[in-house]
């Protein structure tokens, strides 16, 4: 069976005036159908850029980039876009402040010409644990957790096989983060979703993902499965440093 997402030698370069930044330098990985793949790294490591390149939000170069067995064109068709949907970090920034929840959810349905819009909207809201009364509210009338639920509902309303998540919980409190992570893992099982999750938090990635790529300076340092990561069975120093740092502060012996 062909992997759901297969990337070989991905490069992304941003040029700004005379300077250019080689943000992603030859990244390759593949994600099987139904797998959840994590990418961790610190700021500037290129992790979010990889995700944007996969979704076609920014131009990239690669030897091959296939989604569901088909090469992804630089300009994605509507059908391509229906294959994968994106959830961003800050739900307040990614929801239109003057659109109600209903309008936000209706838009992808109209773009893709789907029928039974009301039914689908109601169902999407129920799936992410929102109540019918939330449907006609504006983003500012919702809490941070509720907003992120709307963003997830909007992503899933097209029933995409692939869900891309860029730091979906880093703007949220721990208790709300737990609810959203549980929601994502429940939806993943119910809909047999393939997931790529980007985060700086090793705990979050390990909680949701089977396999994890560690990125630094635009390259993948190593790819490990979660059990090996928790057990510290890693080969690279940088990964070890990340694991140690995420366990908290260690006082030097005085």
């Amino acid at each position: 069976m062909a992997p759901m997402i297969d990337i070989e030698d991905l490069h992304v370069t941003f040029s700004n005036g005379g300077r250019s930044v080689h943000a992603v330098q030859g990244v390759s990985f593949s994600v099987e159908e139904g797998e959840s793949f994590g990418i961790v790294g610190e700021s500037g490591s290129g992790k979010s850029t990889v995700l944007k390149a996969v979704s076609g939000l920014i131009p990239s170069e690669s030897r091959s980039l296939t989604v569901n067995g088909r090469p992804a064109a630089e300009r994605r068709s509507k059908a391509d876009r229906r294959l994968m949907q994106f959830v961003f970090q800050d739900p307040y920034a990614s929801l239109h402040p003057r659109q109600t929840v209903d309008e936000a959810l209706r838009e992808p349905l109209s773009i893709h010409g789907l029928d039974r819009k009301d039914e689908r909207i109601e169902q999407a809201l129920a799936e992410v644990g929102l109540l019918p009364e939330h449907r006609f509210r504006y983003p500012h009338q919702l809490s941070g957790g509720q907003r992120q639920r709307v963003a997830i509902a909007r992503a899933l309303i097209l029933r995409p096989p692939v869900l891309l998540l860029d730091e979906p919980t880093s703007a949220l409190d721990v208790s709300v983060q737990a609810e959203i992570l549980n929601l994502i893992s429940r939806l993943r099982q119910a809909n047999k979703l393939t997931i790529i999750l980007v985060s700086h938090d090793l705990g979050v990635v390990a909680h949701l993902c089977n396999r994890i790529a560690i990125m630094q300076f635009g390259k993948i340092v190593e790819v490990v499965n979660t059990a090996d990561l928790s057990a510290g069975r890693v080969t690279q120093d940088y990964t070890r440093r990340l694991i140690e740092a995420s366990r908290g502060f260690v006082r030097e012996p005085s």
């Binding site: 409190d173 208790s175 893992s185 700086h200 990561l229 928790s230 995420s246 366990r247 006082r251």
Partner: protein, 278 residues
């Protein structure tokens, strides 16, 4: 030397509003010696309000009342603006979360640190410069002379936060309040900054109030921890005993945190009990 740096008894911060009075802080009491005290809580728990109230920085129409709010034996409640000026930045300093918003973008780093020396220590220009350079070195900035003449936008987040620490510590305060000092930083940088803070606090015998939403950081860095929720201090315990915390909220916070070392299929979600706020 007395061990009590700060005594807080029944500290209240209230904001009057159309829908009644909001208690941002309700009957908070604790004592601080020359130690590292962590304050943990989620957004809206009142942890930052606590830091600001101690520094007299609650904006109008906020009202601060307390049975006692003593800093090294002297009440802060009767302070005039002039008293506060002598205290802030000199004996009590505060480090904010994001250096991007706390440093003046159009002034050189060195001048901003030197200003503290000239204002609070009455240093001469020459002396202020020397102290600032020494302080930049103490926070492990590799080329202090170059950084002295740079502007904030030329620094990375980690460097900026070190500059903030340098600026706050150059007047050698007795109490340092750090409000989420490392939350905007990468984990590996975070630990370097914590290490610098830790050493300076230990060497100079300062008291430290460390405000954070991150349980892992607080429990590994601090001596003692206050857990806050809805403007109340729910629990106080030694940081190393946080795992055996008794309050259901603290337990729920720990259970809700995804951990690399203790993977669980489902994270525990919190059932908030209105009784916690009584």
């Amino acid at each position: 030397m007395s061990d009590k740096l700060l005594t807080v008894e029944n500290l209240n911060v209230t904001y009057p509003g159309r829908a009644g009075v909001t208690h941002a802080l309700k009957n908070a009491s604790f004592e601080l010696g020359r130690e590292r005290l962590g304050i943990v809580g989620e957004s809206g728990s009142g942890k930052s309000t606590m830091g600001r109230a101690i520094l007299g920085l609650i904006p109008k129409p906020g009202i601060v009342t307390a049975d006692r709010l003593d800093f090294s034996g002297k009440s802060l409640l009767t302070n005039t603006d002039r008293d506060w000026q002598k205290l802030r930045g000199r004996r009590i300093s505060m480090i904010m979360q994001d250096p991007k918003y706390s440093l003046n973008p159009v002034r050189k780093i060195g001048d901003q640190i030197a200003e503290t020396c000239r204002l609070h220590l009455g240093s001469t220009r020459k002396d202020a410069e020397q102290r600032s350079l020494a302080m930049l070195e103490a926070v492990q900035i590799r080329n202090p002379d170059a950084v002295y003449n740079q502007y904030p936008h030329q620094l990375s987040g980690g460097m900026g936060q070190r500059v903030m620490i340098a600026m706050m510590l150059v007047a050698e305060p007795d109490l340092l309040i750090a409000d989420e000092p490392t939350s905007a930083l990468d984990v590996t940088v975070q630990n370097e900054v914590l290490r610098i803070l830790d050493r300076l606090v230990a060497d100079r015998g300062m008291g430290l109030i460390f405000i954070s939403h991150n349980l892992t950081v607080v429990s590994s860095f601090c001596d003692r921890v206050l857990i806050m929720y809805g403007g109340r201090i729910l629990e106080q315990c030694a940081a190393k005993d946080l795992g055996e915390a008794r309050h259901p909220y603290t337990q729920a916070l720990i259970a809700a945190t995804p951990s690399l070392d203790h993977p669980k299929a489902e994270l525990a979600t919190m059932v908030r009990d209105p009784a916690w706020l009584l």
